[in-house]
Amino acid sequence: MGTENITMPQLGESVTEGTISSWLVKEGDKVTKYDPIAEVLTDKVNAEVPSSFSGIIKELVAKEGETISVGEIMCTMETEEKGIDQKEATIEPPRNNSDFNKSDETSKKRYSPAVLRLAQENDIELTQINGTGKGGRITRKDVERVISSKPSVSKDVPNQQSSPSISNPKPHRTVSDESPDTSINTGDMEIPVTGVRKAIAENMVISKQEIPHAWMTVEADVTDLVSYRNLVKNEFIHSEGFNLTYFAFFIKAVAQALKKFPELNSTWQHDKIIQRKAINLSIAVAVEDKLFVPVIKNADEKTIKGIAREVYELSEKAKNHKLTTEDMQGGTFTVNNTGTFGSIHSMGIINHPQAAILQVESIVKRPVIIDNMFAARDMVNLSLSLDHRVLDGLVCGRFLAYLKEKLENMNETSIQMF
């Protein structure tokens, strides 16, 4: 038993409503399925409406002479059997919960053409606008709101000579707005920015604009490491066929330090920080005007010799332009051998989206005071750039201290080459 509705049927194409000309049943009548229950008049036809169910007429909802739309209820019935489910399969639009926009910022930096144009024409710093669109996206309306409430968010760019009147922005800025110092003079050479150079430029800009960099430098006494390496280097090149560089030792030590401080082996993902399990070290390899960053995968699982071989092979590949995408993917932390260029201090730009980069500077012999006496020691600076969103000074300080300790204790007895 159940209550079912009988609705106004569609009595022909283009018919959207019908008038009950007379009821053929009354409330309380028992009817069987397909019995006529009412006469209905439309402007095309006059028809009898059959019952869709067997049962007892409960209520005549529509009165005689009344015009109702197709699908509206004519009468209700107590049915004997379970009738056909007449409920329409309505499409329920998924409701957004109200804090949807607040937590999700994934589209905050997805700018539509309209948003970019308005921002440029009105000198608006988009990063200062809160987006109300999906995923925190800044909508055209958001920008228009800011424009109408100017100058509260407008940013005064010091270099304004090229467009003197900000109060009266031109509708479309053209290329001729270029500032005078970019004009080409006789003898100047124009070098088109393409390929690797362009990729480098773009990555650097992303990294520098997005990541709040902070820097730390410690110095390590690697006298023992230097003597050990001097001891074995000739034999090594004989037996292995390639150079044993200091860099391999540093990479090994960094991998060990990252194992202990995985905080540095991570990446910023807007609403979360992902700490990587694998320790894949990117190493910077410069070849004339190009910079490649191949990766030593799972560096923590490799021996110093294994690392030395890989550094050698990757730089050979870079020189011969044989690096594959595979070679350059998956880096989780970068070690940059700035010492090769003689640098003793530098501030690296983080290899986006990693969280830190370590610059291994030149090893130099310096007078150092040990036990109140001067001693000639081999010193090296280790300069760390860190993503301050992910990392703070404390953990980085501990990381560098640990690294320093590891390096200072690398000597003939402690080093395991193989």
Binding site: Q10, E13, S14, V15, T16, E17, D43, K44, E88, A89, T90, I91, P93, N96, S112, P113, A114, V115, R117, G133, K134, R137, T139, R140, K141
Partner: protein
């Protein structure tokens, strides 16, 4: 002013034009004594007689062909295709002759014919009684395709079509015939062919559509207004050639555009609308151009559940419009 249904507006426009100009005559299947299967020509046979309201054989190619010939001789025929679905046998006459005669004869000849046809689904008409066929004709320069959405527009545009000196296809939504009613002026007026019409002013999103979908969009817009979403709705009215200036203006106004048709999505009128917007409005766009249309299946299904799945309705419009507003 009198409240008139969409189909009454058709009948009224036909009658007034026949009274105004004796060159206007009607031809089609069952248009005479029966008054048309939808009753669009009801009473005209009695009023104007068998020489001005002609019952033809079931031969759409002849209905179009006879009409075109008469038009070239200076008559103003209004040919009725009983259903737009049945226009296919007449396509050769319409595309090869009606559309091209003025061009081919270097302006010596023209074809002032109006071809009316009920189109559209949602009426349990299944395959042969539900199709939208406008895109078949919408890349034939020389033709005009008018698809009004309201009784007021029907009267003004059908009169304009009959008075136009070139062929006009006039598609009427059969579900709108008795669904839509509104005040229609009793006096004579024409509306311009080739001009779109803003049916609702709004500032958050732009909906561009035509035919019955205009009403679905308007209903959805009223609901969304309660949530603070303000929709701008442009009714194309003439789907070929398109009113580019109005499309560009409407799209640029909000930068978020939803295009709706009940035709199959691919190759439909709204694809061309999207192209016009893409060509002209890039720097005003704030969201990808969105389309709501029928699925790319061969025909409107008969089963009610399947027909609902195929047809655009106010709920689908509302969802799409909300999605776009939230983007």
């Amino acid at each position: 002013m009198a409240v008139m249904s969409y189909i009454q507006a058709v009948t009224t426009a036909l009658r007034e034009e026949m009274l105004r100009d004796e060159k206007v005559f009607i031809l089609g299947e069952d248009v005479g004594k029966k008054g048309g299967v939808f009753r669009a020509t009801e009473g005209l046979f009695d009023e104007f007689g068998e020489y001005r309201v002609l019952d033809t054989p079931l031969t759409e190619s002849a209905i179009a062909g006879v009409g075109i010939g008469a038009a070239m001789y200076g008559m103003r025929p209004v040919a009725e295709m009983q259903f737009a679905d049945f226009i296919m046998p007449a396509v050769n006459q319409i595309i090869s002759e009606a559309a091209k005669t003025r061009y081919r004869s270097n302006n010596d000849w023209n074809v002032p014919i109006t071809i009316r046809a009920p189109y559209g689904g949602g009426v349990h008409g299944a395959l042969y009684h539900s199709q939208s066929v406008e895109s078949v004709f919408a890349n034939q320069p020389g033709l005009k395709i008018v698809m009004p959405s309201t009784p007021y527009d029907v009267k003004g545009l059908l009169k304009a079509a009959i008075r136009d000196n070139d062929p006009v296809l006039f598609f009427e939504h059969k579900r709108a015939y008795r669904l839509l009613k509104e005040d229609v002026p009793e006096e004579d007026y024409v509306l311009p062919i080739g001009k779109a019409d803003v049916k609702r002013e709004g500032s958050d999103i732009t909906v561009i559509t035509y035919g019955l979908c205009v009403h679905f969009a308007l209903q959805a817009a009223e609901k969304l207004a309660e949530e603070g979403i303000d929709a701008h709705i442009l009714d194309l009215r003439t789907v070929y050639p398109l009113d580019k200036a109005a499309i560009i203006e409407a799209a640029s106004k909000t930068g978020k555009v939803l295009l709706i048709t009940e035709d199959n999505k691919e190759g439909s009128i709204i694809g061309e609308v999207a192209a016009i917007i893409a060509e002209n409005c890039l720097f005003d766009l704030d969201a990808p151009i969105m389309r709501l249309a029928g699925p790319d299946v061969p025909a409107m299904p008969y089963a009610p559940t399947m027909e609902r799945y195929f047809m655009v309705n106010p709920e689908k419009c509302e969802k799409a419009m909300r999605d776009l507003a939230e983007f």
